[in-house]
Amino acid sequence: MAAINQPYGQRRSLPVPVRLPGFNGWVLAAIVIAGLAAMLPVLQNSTATSRGFDVQRLQNEQTRINGDIRLLEADVAQLTSLPRIQRRAAEIGLGPAETPIYVTIDEPGPAPAKIPAEYLPGPAPKTDEPESWLHSLLKWVRLGQ
C-alpha cells in the first residue's frame, strides 16, 4: 500500500536480473575440444580412405612392375641363350677353333661365373634414423601427412 502512495516521480526502478552468458574460457575450451574430438574420427576416416586408395593403387603398381620384371628377366634369358649367341657368332663369322693353341699365362684366371644379379638379393633397405619424439608428435598431429 505504501507503494501506491509513493509519488510517481520518486518511483525506484526494480533491478533487472541480467543473465548474460559468461564468456568463460573453460567452457569455450571444452566446446573446442568437443568439436575437435567430433572431427577427429571424420578426419581419420578420410585419411584412412585416402590411404586405402593409395595402398590399392600401389599394390596394383607393384603387381604390374613384378610382372614386368619377370618378363624382362625372361627377355634377358632369351637374349643370352646359347642358340642366339651361336647364331649371332655365325653371323659375324665366328666358329669353334679347330686346332686351338693353349697359352699358359702366369696370372690369376678370371673370377668364377656368378649367379645373375636378378637371382641375388637386392640391397638391404636403408634404415632411417629413429625419429625424435617431437617429430613423431608433429606427424601425428598432422595425421601423418
Partner: protein, 578 residues
C-alpha cells in the same frame, strides 16, 4: 481413493504387458546375440567374405653358371561371360575388339561362348602385355585371371633333364617333378569382403598370407656341354642307325652330372602329349632303362680282384678261346684265342675268359659283395624320378626264371646276366678311377631361397669301394686300353685318357637275339680325371662294336668338353707359356 486404485490398474496392466514384451524381445536378443552368436557370425562372414588363392611364383632352374634354363612368366587366362555376350548387339563389337587383341577369329570367338551362361575360357596363357591391353580396353563381359607359364630360353636343350609342368603349375617330369616341392613355393591366401553381387568391396580386402615364391635351383648341368652331348648323340644315332642312346658327362670326384642326354628325348618344340609315344619320352632313359653292360663290367671285376690282392695287372693266364662250365661253353667275343695274357691284356683285348678267370678267384659271395658296394641292384639316388634299381641274378633268388646257376657268375664277370642303368654303370666306373669312392650322382648343385640366399648342396660319398692304390692301378690299366701303342679313334686328340668298351646283345626270353647295345666309358686326363663320359648306342643297325661306334664319340666329347672347361692339354708341346 477409488479413482487412484482404478488408475493403478490402468497403468499396471499395460506396463506388465509391455514389460513382458520387452522381456521376450530381450530374451530373443540374448538368444541371437549371445547364445547363437557364433553361428550367426560365421554365417555372416561366409556371406560377406570370400577368399582367393594366390599362386606363388615357381622357382627358376639355372645351369651351373647361372644361365636360365626354365623360368616362369606371368600370363592371363581370358574368360568371357556367356550371359553378357548373349545379346548380339553387345557380343558383336566386344568379340571384334577382343579377337583383334588375342588374334582370333571373332566368329569363332562368339561360337565358343554361344549358348553358355557361365564364364567360358577363350584363351589360356595370354602374354602379360596383351592381358594388360585387354584389361585397359574394358571390353564388356571379358574377365582376366592371372596365371603363369614356363619358358625355356635355351629351347630344347636339356628338356629331358628339366621335364615339364602341367597346367596347374605342378611338375610332371624331370627336375620339375623331382624337385617340385622346392620349386612350387607356398600359395598365399586372401580374404576379402564382398558386396551383394559378389564383387570385392574396396578396402575390405585383407591379405591373410602372402605367397612365398618357390626356390630357384642351380643345376650341375652346363648348358654348353648339354647341348654338345645332345648334338653328338643325335649325330651318332643317325650315323650308326641306332634306335636311340644316352650320353652322360660326370665329374668323377663329386658325382656332379654336367650333361645328360637321351635319344629319343623330350623336345618342347614338338611336344604333343596326346601322342602316346611322346608320353614315353617324359622318362629319362639314362636312369629308367636297363641294359646288359657287356664288357664294361670287366673293369669292375678287375677292380674287385685287384683290390682283394688276387691278381695284379701283370698276372698272366693262358687263354684257350673258351671255357666250359657245366654244359655251357663260354667263348671270347671275337672267337679268337689269345694265348698267354696278363690282366691288362684281358682289358685291352676284352677277353671273356680272362674275366671268368678273375671272378673264379673272387668267388660268388665276394664278387656279389663288390657289386653291391659299387651300387648295382639299387637306385643311385640321382634327383630324377623313375630311376630303375637294376637286376643282379643271385643264388637263392626264387623269382628267377631260369633259376640262378654258377654260369651266371661267370657271365656276370663280363657284363651279362646283370642289368644296370647307364647312370649306375657310370657311377661304378667313376668309383674305380676317382680314388675308390662311390659318389652319389646328382643334378642339383644349390638352391636359392626366396630371400636370395644360396644353399650349396655338398657332394655325397656313398662309401669307399676299393683302395686308392687299386684305383690308381685301374686308371693305368684303362689308359693302356685306350692307348695300346698306336693311334686309335678311342684316343682324344689333346688329353690322355682311359676307358673300356662294351657290346652286349639284347636279352630275350630264349637267350639273346642279334640286336646289340654298344657302349664306351672314358675318362680324361688319366693323372687327375676331370671328366668321365658314357656313350651308349641302342640297337645300332650297323652292328659296330662299342669300341668302333661309341668310343670315337666319347673321345670327341672329352676333347671338346675339357677344352671348354679350360683343362690344359696333356701334351705339354701344345702349350705356350707366357
Amino acid at each position: 481413493m477409488a479413482q487412484r486404485g482404478h488408475g493403478t490398474r490402468r497403468v499396471w496392466l499395460p506396463a506388465a504387458f509391455l514389460g513382458a514384451f520387452a522381456l521376450v524381445i530381450l530374451g530373443r536378443l540374448v538368444q541371437l546375440q549371445v547364445i547363437q552368436h557364433g553361428a550367426y557370425a560365421r554365417q555372416t562372414r561366409e556371406e560377406q567374405t570370400a577368399d582367393a588363392t594366390f599362386y606363388a611364383r615357381r622357382g627358376s632352374i639355372l645351369d651351373r653358371n647361372g644361365n636360365v634354363l626354365a623360368a616362369s612368366v606371368d600370363t592371363w587366362n581370358v574368360y568371357v561371360s556367356g550371359r553378357t555376350w548373349r545379346a548380339p548387339e553387345r557380343s558383336g563389337p566386344a568379340s571384334q575388339q577382343l579377337a583383334s587383341l588375342i588374334r582370333m577369329d571373332p566368329v569363332a570367338l562368339r561360337a565358343m561362348v554361344a549358348g553358355k551362361n557361365g564364364d567360358v575360357l577363350v584363351a589360356r596363357d595370354v602374354d602379360y602385355a596383351t592381358g594388360n591391353a585387354i584389361a585397359a580396353a574394358e571390353i564388356p563381359g571379358v574377365v582376366l585371371l592371372p596365371d603363369s607359364k614356363r619358358v625355356t630360353p635355351e629351347g630344347d636343350v636339356g628338356a629331358s633333364v628339366l621335364g615339364l609342368t602341367g597346367l596347374d603349375n605342378t611338375g610332371l617330369a624331370g627336375i620339375e617333378l623331382s624337385h617340385n616341392g622346392e620349386l612350387l613355393g607356398k600359395p598365399g591366401q586372401a580374404v576379402y569382403e564382398r558386396d551383394t553381387t559378389g564383387d570385392p568391396i574396396p578396402f575390405g580386402r585383407s591379405v591373410v598370407e602372402e605367397p612365398q615364391p618357390g626356390q630357384d635351383l642351380v643345376l650341375t648341368i652346363d648348358r654348353y656341354l648339354q647341348q654338345m652331348a645332345e648334338q653328338k648323340l643325335d649325330a651318332a644315332v643317325k650315323e650308326h642307325r641306332a634306335q636311340g642312346g644316352s650320353v652322360i658327362m660326370m665329374d668323377p670326384h663329386t658325382g656332379e652330372i654336367l650333361a645328360l642326354a637321351s635319344s629319343p628325348g623330350l623336345k618342347y618344340s614338338s611336344l604333343d602329349l596326346s601322342d602316346r609315344k611322346q608320353v614315353e619320352l617324359l622318362k629319362n632313359r639314362a636312369v629308367t632303362d636297363l641294359y646288359e653292360p657287356g664288357s664294361v663290367m670287366k673293369v669292375v671285376t678287375a677292380a674287385a680282384a685287384i683290390d682283394q690282392g688276387l691278381v695284379t695287372p701283370d698276372t698272366s693266364y693262358v687263354d684257350t678261346g673258351e671255357i666250359r662250365l657245366y654244359d655251357v661253353t663260354i667263348k671270347n667275343w671275337d672267337d679268337r684265342v689269345y694265348g698267354v695274357q696278363t690282366m691288362t691284356g684281358v682289358l685291352q683285348n676284352s677277353i671273356n675268359t680272362g674275366a671268368v678267370f678273375m671272378v673264379e678267384k673272387l668267388g660268388q659271395p665276394l664278387f656279389h659283395k663288390y657289386l653291391d658296394a659299387f651300387g648295382f641292384g639299387r637306385t643311385t639316388g640321382i634327383d630324377l624320378s623313375g630311376e630303375a634299381e637294376g637286376i643282379i641274378r643271385k643264388p637263392g633268388d626264387e623269382h628267377l626264371d631260369p633259376p640262378w646257376s654258377p654260369v651266371d657268375l661267370a657271365t656276370q664277370s663280363f657284363g651279362q646276366s646283370i642289368s644296370v642303368t647307364p647312370i649306375q654303370m657310370l657311377s661304378a666306373i667313376a668309383a674305380c678311377i676317382n680314388g675308390g669312392l662311390l659318389m652319389k650322382p646328382h643334378l642339383v648343385a644349390a638352391t636359392i631361397d626366396g630371400r636370395g640366399v644360396r644353399h650349396d648342396i655338398a657332394p655325397t660319398v656313398e662309401g669307399r669301394v676299393i683302395s686308392e692304390q687299386t684305383s690308381a692301378t685301374i686308371r693305368m690299366m684303362l689308359e693302356k686300353v685306350v692307348n695300346p701303342g698306336w693311334p686309335d679313334p678311342m684316343q682324344p686328340r689333346n688329353y690322355t685318357a682311359g676307358g673300356k668298351s662294351g657290346t652286349a646283345n639284347v636279352p630275350v626270353a630264349s637267350g639273346y637275339d642279334d640286336r646289340q647295345i654298344a657302349s664306351f666309358v672314358e675318362f680324361a686326363p688319366t693323372d687327375n680325371p676331370r671328366l668321365i663320359v658314357l656313350v651308349k648306342l641302342d640297337q645300332n643297325q650297323d652292328l659296330l662294336t662299342g669300341r668302333v661306334a661309341a668310343a670315337p664319340v666319347a673321345a670327341a666329347i672329352l676333347d671338346d668338353a675339357l677344352n671348354y672347361l679350360n683343362v690344359l692339354p696333356s701334351d705339354v708341346n701344345k702349350q705356350v707359356r707366357r
